[in-house]
């Protein structure tokens, strides 16, 4: 026992079970033993036994994670050459169309990275494409978590951390694409300047504080630079570490399936399977991002020219993650501006920027708590919902996405106008209407689709699949034989809990004399919302229903009752299944 290193409790435990005779020699490689003697790393080995379930949609968050890592690596490379200064220089690099043109050092150094530093353009493009993929990955990951209900207890806090991460990610992106100080990004900074100025009362002070004086001044690029390379990455990486730690701590959610319960995780351990899969996926993401960056241009800063407040280019759009805000500005009517006591108020800008941006993330962050309040469900959930089994939540999600998309499309109203030969005015009017109409339509269509899919599931469970086999009965009638699902196929379709409104699960609003019960406003609101969520529902199939369907499923299709023999054989076949269901 004396040779067993200190602090290697887990090793000691294992060695007694695995090698009972020779427990003096732990079967670990020398480097691990060496490290354990000094750092106690063997305690952490338990981490590698964590089990993760397999599903491609669980990799969407990994796309975001790996893109962030690519950004960190390539960003470090770029800092070696980028000069975050607005000092004036005359360009004398190898890009001819800008030779002899006056510009800031930031823009000149970006051109140098693009044209005169070996591999610079590839790394720049890798950085930018990875940044876009980072946010695409986040968006899809958020959608996956939302639609499967993975934000439910105990993961509400991690959802909030995730929403903060997504907000930080887009601010980080904005700060990053503003740095080159080209004509397009300068226009973006000018827009940001406008957003801040629209804040009532404090607007002007705010812009002077941030810009160090009048726009553009000489401070904004160095300040955005520090935010982009130090402040925001530190927050992002720090919060991300908490985010991923909580994934380990809570254990990963899983889709419903045979053998999967709220109390287990069915999948593969981190070592060796998931380290190989996840590690391999990093190289796939890096490789594909590199392939894209080597073949497709992004943000051709040289084509825009240096920023000059007197110039602007047609087709000025921010990167896609800021579109919804820019689009809101394009849709808000200009007549909202008014003057009061000699001051100008600009709600048409204020609402689309300083109000909209925080509002979107507050709603996003608050959703799990709202849903929990409505359902009153305080239990832990580790099994994911199939989106169709939560029709109203799914419909709320698609309605929100449709609203977001309408705003985002408004940002490219000019591009749509020239590419589709439409009038930009008509597009704007149409999108204004759609902003209110699209979410309603999306909500209703999605909810109906979900309910229909649930009914289709019911149908499938109760009557099985069409086998394509036609049988003829003794008296000459024909019918198609339906094959019952196997219990493995059936389980995911029947495992979910029925969600019922408070009007069903709790006592009625009036007492036995027909008098309204005294209720608080909060309870009434909760009751109304519960009705909104669960009034229209399709109950999951119960074991009794499955049994009943087997008893007279085929007999119904055969009026006259000439199929007793058939029915009996089916009943025998499924007797064992029914008893299993009751377990």
């Amino acid at each position: 026992m004396t040779t067993i290193p200190q602090g290697a409790g887990s090793v000691r435990d294992r060695s007694t079970t695995e090698t009972s005779t020779d427990d003096a020699k732990p079967s670990l490689p020398p480097p691990v033993v060496w490290a354990d003697e000094r750092l106690g790393v063997a305690k952490g080995m338990g981490l590698f036994k964590k089990v993760f379930p397999d599903h491609w949609s669980f990799l969407l968050g990994e796309i975001a994670m790996y893109s962030m890592i690519i950004c960190l690596i390539t960003g470090t490379f770029l800092t070696f050459w980028f000069v975050p200064s607005m000092a004036h220089v005359v360009y004398d690099g190898s890009y001819v169309p800008l030779k002899g043109v006056g510009m800031s050092e930031a823009y000149a150094s970006t051109l140098d990275i693009s044209f005169d530093i070996k591999g610079g353009l590839l790394i720049r493009q890798l950085h930018h494409w990875a940044a876009l993929l980072f946010i695409v990955g986040i968006a899809l990951h958020v959608a996956r978590v939302f639609f499967t209900g993975a934000f439910r207890k105990p993961r509400e806090l991690n959802w909030v951390i995730g929403t903060v991460l997504s907000l930080l990610a887009i601010i980080e992106g904005f700060a990053g694409y503003s740095l080159p100080d080209d004509l397009l990004s300068g226009t973006g900074i000018r827009a940001m300047n406008g957003f801040m100025s629209s804040a009532p009362v404090i607007g002007t002070y705010l812009t002077f504080f941030v810009f160090g004086g009048e726009f553009p001044g000489e401070s904004i690029i160095p300040r955005l630079y520090i935010a982009h390379v130090l402040l925001l990455p530190a927050l992002l990486v720090g919060l991300f570490a908490v985010h991923i730690f909580l994934v380990f701590w809570h254990k990963h959610t899983q889709y419903p399936g045979p053998g999967r319960t709220n109390n287990n995780v069915v999948g593969f351990p981190l070592l060796p399977v998931y380290t190989a899969k996840a590690g391999g996926f990093f190289f796939i993401v890096f490789g594909l991002t590199a392939l894209i960056s080597a073949t497709v241009t992004i943000n051709a800063v040289w084509a825009y020219g240096p920023y000059d407040p007197a110039q602007v280019t047609a087709g000025s759009q921010p990167d896609f993650y800021m579109w919804f805000s820019d689009g809101a500005l394009r849709l808000l009517p200009g007549f909202m501006e008014f003057e009061l006591w000699g001051f100008t108020f600009s709600p048409q800008i204020f609402l689309g920027s300083l109000v909209l941006l925080p509002l979107v993330w507050i709603i996003l962050g608050a959703y799990p708590f709202i849903e929990q309040w409505v359902t009153g469900d305080k239990r832990e959930h580790h099994l994911l919902d199939r989106p169709r089994n939560a029709p109203v939540r799914t419909a709320i999600g698609t309605a929100g996405i449709s609203m977001y998309l309408v705003l985002a499309l408004a940002t490219i109203n000019d591009i749509i106008a020239i590419k589709l030969h439409l009038s930009i005015n008509d597009i704007t009017v149409a999108l204004r209407v759609l902003f209110f109409l699209a979410p309603v339509v999306a909500f209703m269509v999605t909810k109906r689709l979900c309910l229909s899919l649930q009914r289709a599931d019911r149908e499938l469970v109760l009557h099985g699949t069409e086998s394509g086999r036609i049988q003829r009965t003794a008296d000459g009638r024909f019918y198609e034989v339906h094959e019952d699902l196997s219990e493995y196929d059936r389980w995911p379709l029947v495992q979910h809990e029925p969600m019922r409104p408070l009007s069903v699960t709790e006592e009625s609003e009036t007492d036995e004399y027909g008098v309204d019960r005294p209720r608080g406003i909060a309870y009434k609101a909760r009751r109304a919302l519960s009705e909104f969520y669960f009034k229209d529902r399709v109950e999951p199939v119960t074991p009794a229903e499955v049994a009943a369907a087997h008893h007279h499923g085929e007999a119904e299709a055969l009026p006259g009752g000439h199929a007793e023999a058939l029915e009996e054989s089916h009943a025998e076949e499924h007797a064992s299944l029914r008893s299993d269901d009751r377990h």
Partner: protein, 269 residues
């Protein structure tokens, strides 16, 4: 079950139907869409007097909107501005790029195949010049792009042109369906004339605001883009800025990664 009914249930039936529907719609559109009059009313060019010939061409092709004396007309479908004093540069641009005669009244005359010969365009120009003095077709020395300064042209372009035509000269939208066209594959002569005469919604940049040499610089800047002088780092995605990037990353970009994720998710441990 008949054969047709069996095919109807095939998984590719939807794709075949979609294909047939698209083909039918496309063919019907191609067959029924309004086209520009192709006759062109080519006049015989035997007359010695260019003004006379130009006037004949004008009366046959332009007078219905611009009036028989080019004095301009107002009307629902036949409104045209007066052409007195617009000069042969305007004629050369409008007719030489096919914008005039218009196929149909609309918010903006669209570029289309030219219906006149160079000689006829010249004769039309001479006739318009005879009505009053105006800007002339540029000298060859300002459109040969020899000794043009691309960087200076870029500066002038970004200050005066980019807000409508886009900094990469890819075009942009204006109000109510009007647009600033993309400037790729336009003859230097026509670029020059457009700056000089300010066709349609475009402002006039006369020789005082942008000198002939500066106009040549601007043309050289545009030609440099056209010849691929800005194409670094791979496919340009149409040079429309972040809109192209967004379309790419949300379709092909993330599509590739999701395909990889699905492949990895299915792969047995």
């Amino acid at each position: 079950m008949s054969k047709l009914a069996a095919y109807r249930r095939s998984p590719i039936a939807l794709i075949v139907l979609l294909f047939l529907g698209l083909t039918f719609t496309g063919t019907a559109y191609a067959a029924l869409q309004p086209t520009a009059p192709a006759d062109g009313a080519v006049a015989s060019a035997t007359a010695s007097d260019d003004v006379e010939e130009g006037k004949k061409l004008f009366l046959a092709n332009c007078a219905s909107c611009h009036g028989t004396n080019a004095e301009g007309k107002t009307g629902i479908n036949t409104a045209g501005p007066s052409l007195v004093g617009v000069g042969s540069a305007a004629v050369d641009f409008q007719v030489g790029t096919g914008r005039m005669p218009m196929a149909a009244p609309g918010v903006q005359a669209a570029e289309k195949p030219v219906v006149f010969t160079d000689k006829e365009i010249e004769q039309l120009g001479i006739f318009i010049d005879s009505l009053g003095p105006g800007p002339q077709v540029p000298d060859a020395q300002y459109i040969d792009l020899v000794n043009a300064d691309i960087a200076n042209g870029g500066k002038i372009f970004r200050t005066n042109c980019a807000m409508c035509h886009n900094s990469s000269a890819q075009g942009g939208a204006l109000t109510r369906g009007k647009f600033a066209p993309d400037l790729m594959n336009v003859e230097p002569k026509h670029l020059y004339e457009a700056m000089l005469t300010g066709p349609q919604s475009m402002p006039v940049f006369n020789d005082h605001t942008i000198t002939p040499q500066e106009k040549e610089d601007v043309i050289a800047f545009i030609k440099n883009i056209e010849e691929g002088g800005n194409d670094f780092g791979g496919h340009t995605l149409g040079s429309v800025g972040p809109a192209g990037d967004a379309l790419f990353i949300w379709t092909i970009g993330i599509g590739l990664l999701i395909a990889a994720a699905i492949w990895l998710g299915r792969k047995a441990a």
